[in-house]
C-alpha cells in the first residue's frame, strides 16, 4: 500500500509543479494535464511512469508569468505537510488570488480521480493536544482525535523529558502506544517513526518489558527494510542478544547469515557476536567480562539471561574445583558488583549455607543444590521459548 501512496504523491507533485510553472496559463495547463494523465491511465502506465522526470505540459512554457517567492520545500512538502487536503487546496487557490487572477475553479477533477484510486484513504489528524491516552481502535479513527505530525513531534520531545523527570513507566508506555497508533493510522513511515519506535524500545528495555520491546523491534525491522534510516546496528545487536536469551538456534543461524561485513565491524554487533561465541564455547570468563562492557542498552537484555548463565557457570565451578573455591574468585568471575550481591545470589539458590568461615565455598556440597537450580531453568526455557 505504501508504494502506491508514494507513486500517487509523485503524480500529485507533477500536477503541482505544472500548476506552479504556469499560473499565466492555468486553463490550458489544466486541459493538457487531464489529457496526459488520462492517456497514461488508459495505457495502464499510470504508476509505471516516472513522474518526477516527466516533461511539463507544453502550456507551461514561460510567457509573462509573474514569479513569486516560494521556497523549494513548500512545493514538495505535501507528504510531510501537516495540512489537511482542503487546507492544501485553499493554499494553492490563495496563491493565484495574490496575482489578481480570476477566482479559478480548483484543480479538482484529476485529484479526485487519484483519490479514488487511492484505496487506503490517508487520514490527516487535526487534534492539537500533546498528550493522549491509548485506546485500541475498533473502526476507522476520527481525525479530530488523531494528532498531526507536527504535534506528534512535539509530543515525542515532551515525553522524553517527562520520562527523565518522572520515570513513570505505565504512563509513558500508554502515551507511546497512542503516539505509535497516530503514526500508523496516518501511514507515516519516516525517520520520525523510526525515532519513536527506537525511543520506546529503549525505554521498554530499561524497564525489562520484553513484550513491548519485541513489538517495537518487529516494527523497526520492517521500517529498516524499507531503507528508512535509524540506529540499525544498535538494534541488530539487540536482536542477536534476544535470540541468545531464547536460545533459538535457527534464529541465531539465520541472523548470522544476514550480517553484512559492514555490520560485523560495528562495535555493538561485534559485542553481541562475541557474547554468542563465548556462550557457545563455554568461555564463561570472557562472557561475564562482556556483560560488564555491554554497549547501549545491551546489558538490560543480557539481564534476562544472566541468572541462567550464572547458575550454569556456578555448576561448572562446583563440579571442577575441590575441595573449596575462593568466594572472591566467584565474585569477580561472575561479575557481581560486590560481595553482598554474591552472597545474596547464593542465598537465593539455597547454597549460602555452604560458604565456609574463610570465605570459600564448599563446592562438593554446593554442587547438588546448584544442579537442582539448573533443572529449574531448563523447564522454564522450554515453556518460555517462543
Amino acid at each position: 500500500m505504501d508504494k502506491l501512496f508514494i507513486k500517487i504523491c509523485f503524480i500529485r507533485e507533477y500536477v503541482q509543479r505544472s500548476f506552479n510553472e504556469a499560473q499565466h496559463n492555468i486553463d490550458a495547463v489544466e486541459r493538457e494535464l487531464k489529457i496526459i494523465i488520462s492517456s497514461k491511465m488508459s495505457e495502464g502506465l499510470l504508476y509505471e511512469t516516472d513522474w518526477s522526470k516527466m516533461e511539463l505540459p507544453q502550456s507551461c512554457r514561460p510567457s509573462s508569468f509573474l514569479s513569486f517567492n516560494q521556497s523549494p520545500s513548500d512545493r514538495y512538502s505535501f507528504d510531510s505537510d501537516e495540512c489537511s487536503e482542503s487546507q492544501k487546496r485553499e493554499k494553492r487557490a490563495k496563491r493565484f488570488q495574490e496575482h489578481e487572477r480570476i477566482n479559478r475553479p480548483r484543480w479538482e477533477p484529476p485529484v479526485q480521480q487519484l483519490d479514488e484510486i487511492d484505496v487506503d484513504q490517508t487520514i490527516v489528524g487535526t487534534c492539537q493536544k500533546l498528550e493522549k491516552s491509548y485506546l485500541r481502535l475498533t473502526s476507522a479513527p476520527d481525525p479530530s482525535t488523531v494528532r498531526p505530525l507536527r504535534i506528534l513531534k512535539q509530543t515525542l520531545e515532551f515525553l522524553k523529558a517527562k520520562w527523565v523527570e518522572d520515570q513513570n513507566y505505565t504512563y509513558i508506555c500508554d502515551q507511546f502506544k497512542s503516539l505509535r497508533q497516530d503514526l500508523t493510522v496516518q501511514h507515516i513511515k519516516t525517520e520520525f517513526t523510526v525515532k519513536v519506535y527506537e525511543t520506546h524500545a529503549r525505554i521498554a528495555l530499561e524497564k525489562s518489558d520484553l513484550g513491548e520491546y519485541n513489538q517495537c523491534q518487529t516494527q523497526l525491522k520492517e521500517l529498516y527494510r524499507l531503507n528508512i534510516p535509524g540506529s540499525v546496528m544498535e538494534f541488530m545487536a539487540y536482536r542477536l542478544l534476544y535470540f541468545l536469551y531464547t536460545r533459538n538456534r535457527s534464529d541465531i543461524n539465520a541472523l548470522i547469515a544476514e550480517l553484512t561485513d559492514e555490520m560485523k565491524n560495528d562495535d555493538a554487533i561485534k559485542h553481541a557476536l562475541e557474547v554468542r561465541s563465548t556462550l557457545a564455547t563455554s568461555n564463561f570468563h570472557k562472557f561475564f567480562q562482556l556483560y560488564l562492557k555491554a554497549p547501549n542498552m545491551g546489558a538490560y537484555l543480557m539481564d534476562h539471561f544472566i541468572e541462567r548463565e550464572r547458575i550454569a557457570a556456578l555448576q561448572t565451578l562446583c563440579k571442577a574445583f575441590r575441595p573449596t573455591l575462593e568466594m572472591e574468585f566467584i565474585r569477580t568471575e561472575l561479575a557481581f558488583n560486590d560481595m553482598e550481591e554474591c552472597y545474596q545470589f547464593l542465598n537465593e539458590h539455597n547454597s549460602s549455607i555452604y560458604i565456609l568461615a574463610d570465605n570459600t565455598l564448599d563446592t562438593k556440597n554446593a554442587q547438588k543444590s546448584i544442579e537442582a537450580c539448573v533443572k529449574k531453568f531448563e523447564k522454564i526455557d522450554i515453556k518460555g521459548q517462543i
Binding site: 557457545a280 555448576q315 561448572t316 574445583f321
Partner: protein, 349 residues
Amino acid sequence: LSAPWDDIVIQYIKCIIAMHNRKYAEAFEEHHTMVQIFQRAFSQQFGRWSLPILYTINYDLRLLAIKSDLIFMMAEKPPKNLEIAARAINKSFSLCITDRAVLNVSRKWGTYYFAGLLFKTYFKLKQQNLCKNVIKSIRASTDLPPFGQFPRAHQVTFLYYQGLLAFLEAEYSQAEEKFVTAFRMCPKSSQKNKELILRYLIPVWLTRGILPSPELLSRYPKIESLYKPFIDAIRDGNVKKFDDTLAKFELKLVAQNTFLTVELAREIAMRVLFKKVYLINIRESKVPLSKFQQALKYVGRDVEMAEVMWYMASMIQKGLIRGYLSYSKEFLVLSEKNAFPVFDAPALT
C-alpha cells in the same frame, strides 16, 4: 481413452507444450491441474499399482514449481508455486497414509516416499517446522507396515531427514544414530547422497571427539576439502589454527547450517592440547595450570590464568577430563584411571 485418463493425458500434453515454449508458469499450472485430476481418480479407483505414476507426477510437480518460482523471483513477483506444490504433495501423502485397503494392494506403501518429498519441499521453503506434522501423522497411524519393509530408497531419505531435524535442534545423539543408519543403507553409487549425510554427520562426530579416518575422507573429496583442516587442527591440538579455519569457512558453514556445531569442536581441539601437556609432563597426575597456559600461548592463544581455569573446569564438567582443580594451588589433579576418556563411534561399513 476412457475417463479419467483422457483428461490426464490432455493436461499432460498441454503441460509439455508449455514447457516446450519455456512458459514454465503455465506449465506448472497445467501440471498441477493434472495432478489434482489424478489424485481424485487415485482416491476413488486406483490402488497400489499406480503409485509409481503418483511418485513421478509429484516429483515433476515439485521441479516445475521450483523452476517457475525462479522466474517469478526474477520478475519480482512473489514465488508461490512451491507452496501450492507442497499442498498438493501433502494431499498425496494423506491419500496414502489413510488408505484402508488390504495390505498388499494398499496405498500405504507410498507413505514414506511422500514423507521424504514433503521434507525436501519444506526445507526448500525454509519452513522446517511443518515437518513435525508429517512425523506426527506417521506416528499416529496405527496400521502402517514396519519401517524396514519399505523400499530402501524411501527409508534412507526418511532417516536422513530425521537426522537433519534432530541435528538442527542440537539433539546430536539422535542425529548421529539416524545418520549412521542412513549412511550404511545408502548404496555406494549415490555419491551425492552419501556426501550429504557426511556433511552433517562429521560435525556431530567432531563435537564428540571422533575423527573420521583419512580413508573415509578420501572417498568424498568435497567433504574432505571442507573438514580436513578442522580435523588436522584438532589432531594437533592447535586451537589457534582451529579458530582461524573456523573464521575462514564461516560463510560456507553458516550457509549449510553447520557452523554452530563445528564451533563446539573447539573444546575437543583444546583437550588434545591439554592431553599433550599431560603426556609431556611424563603423565604426572598433578599438573600445574601454568603449563597449560604455556601450551596455549605456544599455539598462539595468549590467555589469562582465569580463562585457562574456566576451560579446564568446563571440560571436567562435560566429562572430557576426569579430575579436579585446586584454585589456591593452581593445579589440575587428574584421576588415576582414564583421565582423558576415549570415545568411539560405530563402524560405518
